[in-house]
Symmetry: C2
DNA sequence: CCTGGGATAGAAAGCGCTTTCTAAAGCGAG
DNA sequence: CTCGCTTTAGAAAGCGCTTTCTATCCCAGG
């Protein structure tokens, strides 16, 4: 039905082997022959059969990118950056496959299985991990298998995996977990400095004079949430130590958890206001949540930053445009994604300790100011 | 190196054929045999070799989704909806491959070529098309070839292709353009009623009493831009006819073009203000552009909607949250994407005339109001 | 007790490509 | 003018799976 290598070979008056060599370009072919082949390819509109090629060569030009929510620019930016490194137009270029897990660990495993089935060249996992030990172990096992199968695994924006727990059990599995081609076994990691960012953000609020600071945090079970919370508390603890205060114990009461969406911010802010009407500042899990917080505060008749300061996290494109513009912690998502992409392609060597941390940066804008002196 | 079908067959004490049948499930296998095979699969942690499977079966479980900008929720929502129809966890499930073209027609062709190489089961093209005749013909040719190769082609949010131009030329190509399996030849289309939406939006402003309406339109060469502009002008023309006015001739002067981003809105609004300081309303190419328009107007000391009304297009999630909340034209992106996904899978039969139009809906919010009576 | 047919499983022929291994030229050196 | 090397191209053996074709087994019906 479709045009095959043999057809091209016949037309060019050469063997199939020669055509293959011309197209892959990793073997010397005389100039005249080469151009004869290329002409035949043109004339017949030949397109390589990818599956056949992958089967024979035992390689694939697919790179999987797992994201929690493709409709969220946070992930869109990273995915776009990963993809920008793939050079699909070039001969050895890769095709990035963006898979939307919806944040579900089960779906994540499903996609990883499908990617393994496709013998993907690499897999990039973005987004925060769920801390449930069962899921974590299942995920680690799957990633180990992928690595053993020669797929490069890169984590982007999630913490490095814990060391292998169980011994993997039965079956005379051969490779001692991933000395496979191009895999160091342990996944490469591009980590965000969430702790440091949250810490600097809280320090900023403390320096402005805020003492009653609410926190609308992300889902309780995700690593990112925990890290940001830890940074926040570390700043409070430092402050307590230096000033003999006790903000840290208050922090529990002033923290609520929700999803990474606007309504969580809205609801969270109302709940915080209920718990502590004297609130002067609210930290949000991310910028989207911060927008919800702002909406709730405004509806409660509070001005920002006049009555309450609000700060977000991530610095998405819309954050600078919000009114008031959001104080937030910038995560260089594009840079991180691009780096993850290069690691996935093996174009950049693994960072020391296999973990590259990208710095976060405090962006002070209009939504935070000193509290009213009452 | 890796576990193969033969290994599983040996372990289960059956033939490779039987294992294949158990896994694909489209052939009767006795219960006892079946469970013996499944146990062997478990024990050996067998994962099917996708390329081999695709080669032998001459099918693939890849579905390509082309988007202009993956970081833009407009496309993210559609992509997510397409993906939600794929059921990757099921046996016959598909793997959606989201490809970011960056709006470049060349990259679009590159991705289509790669997807054809992978023998993708279907391809969904989202986003507006470029109207350049050269590109349009190249694209149409590529899509024809895809269809001829048995790949289902679905257009989502772009107009149906023009009828085949050239006759395709040389080579005794067989199929008369795509009576291939499951392809009707002509791509299936899910179209947005951009004209109608723009028309109703303009009518809304006219009804409020606006007469000097600026338009910060999208890139001049894209179909979507043209359609929205046509709707806008149709409304103006109707008004002129009924009221003996001449708003239509003014429209040219009050239209500027830009990209689909915030800064285009910002710059565009400033330019419009320069051309017509007495502007009472501004339409934007989409909601992101509208935000830029709002920012520019505000910096110019104008209040929204007090001095100038602003309206967008698309109704992205952030639009209701902006302050003031944006009047806009809602495009049911999720619904459209899901439908495109179903068409791609052949789970929904083709619409009459192969074009399904999804309705757009005017969302009147706080950013539009009657102009000041001066 | 024999036979025909349904149910189940195996043998084997590819699918279209890559890649050794091998052969045929082409060319300088002895 | 021949020998041995390099350069270039073909032959053919898979890669791991699917699927047709065929063989076997078992049971009901005659």
């Amino acid at each position: 039905m479709a045009v095959t290598l043999a057809d091209v070979a016949a037309r060019a008056g050469v063997s199939a082997a020669t055509v293959s060599r011309v197209l892959s370009g990793n073997y010397p072919v005389a100039g005249a022959t080469r151009s004869r082949v290329l002409r035949a390819v043109e004339e017949l509109e030949y397109v390589v059969n990818g599956p056949a090629s992958s089967l024979a060569a035992a390689t694939s030009d697919l790179v999987g990118v797992l994201v929690n929510d493709i409709a969220d620019p946070f992930f869109g930016i990273m995915a776009s950056a990963v993809q920008s490194e793939m050079e699909p137009e070039k001969a050895g270029g890769k095709l990035a496959v963006v898979c939307n897990t919806g944040g579900s660990p089960e779906r994540e495993l499903t996609y990883l299985m499908l990617l393994q089935r496709q013998r993907a060249a690499a897999v990039v996992l973005t987004g925060s991990a769920v801390e449930d030990p069962g899921h974590a172990e299942a995920l680690a096992a799957r990633l180990r298998r992928l690595a053993a199968a020669g797929t490069r695994v890169v984590l982007c924006g999630r913490p490095p995996l814990p060391e292998a727990g169980g011994d993997g059990g039965q079956g005379g599995g051969k490779g001692a977990a991933g000395a496979g081609p191009g895999g160091t076994g342990a996944p490469l990691t591009v980590a965000f400095d969430n702790r440091g960012g949250a810490r600097r953000l809280t320090e900023h609020l403390l320096a402005l004079g805020h003492r009653r600071i609410g926190y609308v945090a992300g889902p309780a079970e995700r690593t990112t949430t925990r890290h940001r919370l830890e940074g926040h508390r570390a700043a409070l603890a430092d402050h307590d130590r230096d000033h003999g205060r006790d903000l840290l114990t208050e922090a529990d009461r002033l923290t609520v958890h929700g999803a990474y969406d606007r309504s969580s911010g809205y609801d969270g802010a109302l709940e915080l206001l209920r718990r502590e009407p004297g609130l002067t500042a609210v930290l949000a899990a991310n910028d989207t949540v911060a927008l919800g917080v702002c909406a709730a505060l405004r509806e409660a008749g509070l001005s920002i930053p006049g009555d309450v300061s609000v700060a977000g996290f991530d610095d998405l494109p819309f954050s600078a445009d919000a009114s008031p513009s959001l104080t937030t912690v910038r995560i260089p998502l594009h840079e991180a994604g691009a780096r993850a992409g290069r690691l996935a392609l093996g174009r950049e060597s693994a960072p020391p300790g296999d973990v590259a941390t990208v710095r976060t940066e405090l962006m002070v804008r209009a939504s935070t100011a000193a509290p009213r002196t009452d």
